[in-house]
């Protein structure tokens, strides 16, 4: 598809997800409808077990919705065959994990270049260097993750997520393992990625500091997704 004619949204239409656990049916997500747009940082707030990870995995196509439809830039990920789905993820979706999850047997640069290779890009290393440059840790390219601080690890994880210039960034508790100052810096980076690079950033978190930077806030409680409005503030959320 021509990028210019491509839809700029991730659309959830009456999406439900249920699964069986210990003989009983668990409704992880109940009739969720939402639209996440490029150029915006969407925050999905909710306690542990509320369905945040289920929501992210549905968007990325790791699980099939029990009912409803998930469309990511005009594509229904779960309709794609395995090889194309993987290429779609590598090229169109960046992932940031709670515990960074960098591969400790590769250097920072190799961690980032690996994802560029997955997307079939030539000169993966030079793309990796550019991505590291953008998050300000190009000087750490040759180090192994074990030798990085928590903040540096998360920057490396963001570089890895952004190396293929994906339209969508999914962040699962991106500030959970960070100290206050480092967490704040990461929030600003995510905000900048959404605004300056025109990407859709969806962050599942319970970190209320993100509210001030979010363009759209969604609350997930017991599998029910509620919109708190695009201009919600920390105070209004708390209220």
């Amino acid at each position: 598809m021509n990028p210019s004619s491509e839809s700029r949204s991730i659309i959830l239409e009456h999406v439900s997800k249920s699964y069986r656990e210990d003989g009983s049916v668990v409704h992880a997500l109940n009739d969720a409808s939402a639209e996440f747009k490029r150029g915006r940082l969407a925050l999905v707030l909710g306690p542990s077990g509320s369905g945040k990870t289920t929501l992210l995995s549905l968007i990325a196509g790791f699980t099939q919705p029990t009912s409803g439809a998930v469309t990511v830039f005009d594509t229904k990920p779960t309709d794609l065959p395995p090889a194309k789905l993987q290429l779609f993820r590598a090229a169109k979706i960046g992932f940031i994990f709670q515990n960074f999850l960098l591969l400790d047997w590769l250097t920072v640069e190799e961690n980032v270049a690996l994802v560029a290779e997955f997307a079939g890009r030539n000169s993966a290393v030079s793309h990796a260097r550019a991505a590291l440059e953008r998050v300000g840790i190009s000087h750490l390219a040759g180090r192994y993750p074990a030798n990085l601080s928590q903040g540096e690890k998360q920057r490396a994880a963001i570089a890895r997520a952004c190396v293929n210039n994906p339209h969508l960034l999914l962040a699962d508790e991106p500030t959970a393992c960070l100290e206050s100052k480092q967490g704040f810096e990461i929030i600003k980076i995510l905000h900048s990625i959404a605004k300056d690079e025109n990407r859709c950033v969806i962050a599942a978190s319970h970190d209320l500091r993100l509210i001030d930077y979010a363009d759209g806030i969604f609350r997930l409680e017991d599998g029910v997704l509620k919109t708190s409005g695009p201009c919600a503030t920390r105070d209004s959320y708390n209220n």
């Binding site: 990870t53 992210l56 995995s57 990325a60 790791f62 699980t63 395995p82 090889a83 993987q86 290429l87 779609f88 993820r89 590598a90 090229a91 979706i93 992932f95 994990f97 999850l101 591969l103 400790d104 047997w105 590769l106 190799e110 690996l114 994802v115 290779e117 997955f118 997307a119 890895r160 699962d172």
Partner: protein, 371 residues
């Protein structure tokens, strides 16, 4: 493929001790197989060099006996006279094989004596490495490894069935591993055996080798009770006998070694996969092609098995040399075919182990990365 190999190397480097252990175990298994193959080759060389060297047009034995390895052919000397009468036969050389106890330096060992006529060109040792051939009764030529094992030199004496024989030469290419050839005159061999006028076989030379088929027919008509084999047939018969006795053991031990190698390799790979489960889930989430992880595991398996194979190839030469030094009767021979066989075997084991591990990979789910 090169990229996959790079990531395989990197992932193996996380566990240097385990990787070294696996390569070490693999090299030991591969070396054991290579060693057995080289012993087999050595036995084949030692067993057949005597026959190959004595290039007769026919080997004539008692009817129903096709080899000298595990057959007891007994012919009267009258058969030799009859063979000499067959038109087309130029020369008939008798040989008598006797299994006997030889005592030297307070040590008793069994030797396989080939008694022949020193005046004939056929029936003697393939190569004399020290001293000379036997010329008369009371003399003996011993195999080099037997002489080394027993501490015997040219000029020493050995006692065979109460007869003291002077060692006049040392031969090579006459070590059959379980037993060694020795050479003496046919009269001396008969004296040791205690029966006159008998031989084990006749080595026949023809006036014109082109007449082979005709002469075979004449021998069958004129000299009943014997079998005549061409040189190639006779080599093949003896080779078959040797293999029948040696190959099953070789194959069983080799198969056990291969299974041990495959088991170790698979266990290590499964352990690596179990420990890397989260990493592999992350890699799936990040969009790895479906072939990435199978290639990574195949790369690991091939690196481990081939490294073991290559190390075994490097070590086998000094190891066999050292073993031959300690055990002179041990005779090994390594050739390109054996090296090729072992390399192919470790490749196949690596592939089989990785195939087994693919099932483990199928049980890793991307969502594990979010747990």
């Amino acid at each position: 493929m090169r990229r996959s190999l790079k990531y395989s190397v990197r992932s193996l480097r996380r566990q240097p001790f385990r990787t070294a252990f696996t390569i070490g175990a693999g090299s030991l298994c591969a070396m054991l197989i290579l060693f057995l193959l080289s012993v087999y080759n050595g036995v084949e060389v030692g067993s057949l060099t005597y026959i190959r060297y004595n290039k007769a047009d026919f080997w004539v034995l008692q009817e129903g006996t096709g080899n000298i390895m595990r057959g007891s052919s007994i012919l009267l000397t009258a058969y030799g006279d009859a063979l000499r009468q067959v038109p087309g036969v130029a020369r008939v050389s008798p040989v008598l094989f006797v299994l006997a106890q030889a005592e030297a330096n307070g040590r008793t060992s069994t030797i396989y004596i080939a008694g022949y006529s020193p005046g004939d060109t056929l029936g003697g040792p393939p190569q004399i490495v020290s001293g000379r051939n036997v010329e008369k009764a009371g003399e003996i030529v011993l195999d080099r490894s037997f002489a080394l094992k027993s501490g015997i030199r040219v000029g020493d004496s050995v006692t065979v069935h109460r007869e003291k024989l002077k060692v006049v030469g040392i031969s090579s290419g006459t070590n059959m591993f379980v037993i060694q050839y020795a050479f003496t005159t046919i009269e001396q061999a008969r004296s040791i055996l205690g029966y006159p006028n008998i031989v084990s076989c006749y080595l026949v030379r023809l006036s014109d080798p082109q007449d082979r088929d005709v002469v075979v027919m004449r021998i069958a008509e004129d000299v009943p009770g014997i079998d005549a084999f061409s040189q190639d047939e006779f080599v093949e018969n003896n080779l078959r006998e040797m293999r029948a006795g040696f190959l099953p053991i070789l194959l069983i031990v080799s198969a056990i070694s291969a299974v041990v190698l495959a088991t170790i390799l698979t266990a290590i790979l499964v352990m690596n996969i179990a420990e890397s489960r989260k990493d592999f889930a992350v890699v799936m989430v990040l969009g790895s092609p479906p072939s990435f992880l199978p290639k990574l595991i195949t790369g690991q398996a091939m690196l481990l098995s081939l490294s073991g194979g290559i190390i075994s190839l490097i070590l086998i030469f000094p190891v066999t040399a050292a073993l031959e030094n300690f055990f002179p009767e041990l005779s090994t021979a390594i050739d390109a075919l054996q090296i090729f066989t072992v390399i192919c075997m470790v490749i196949v084991i690596g592939l089989v182990s990785s195939l087994v591990c693919f099932q483990r990979l199928k049980r890793i789910y991307p969502l594990e990365a979010f747990e």
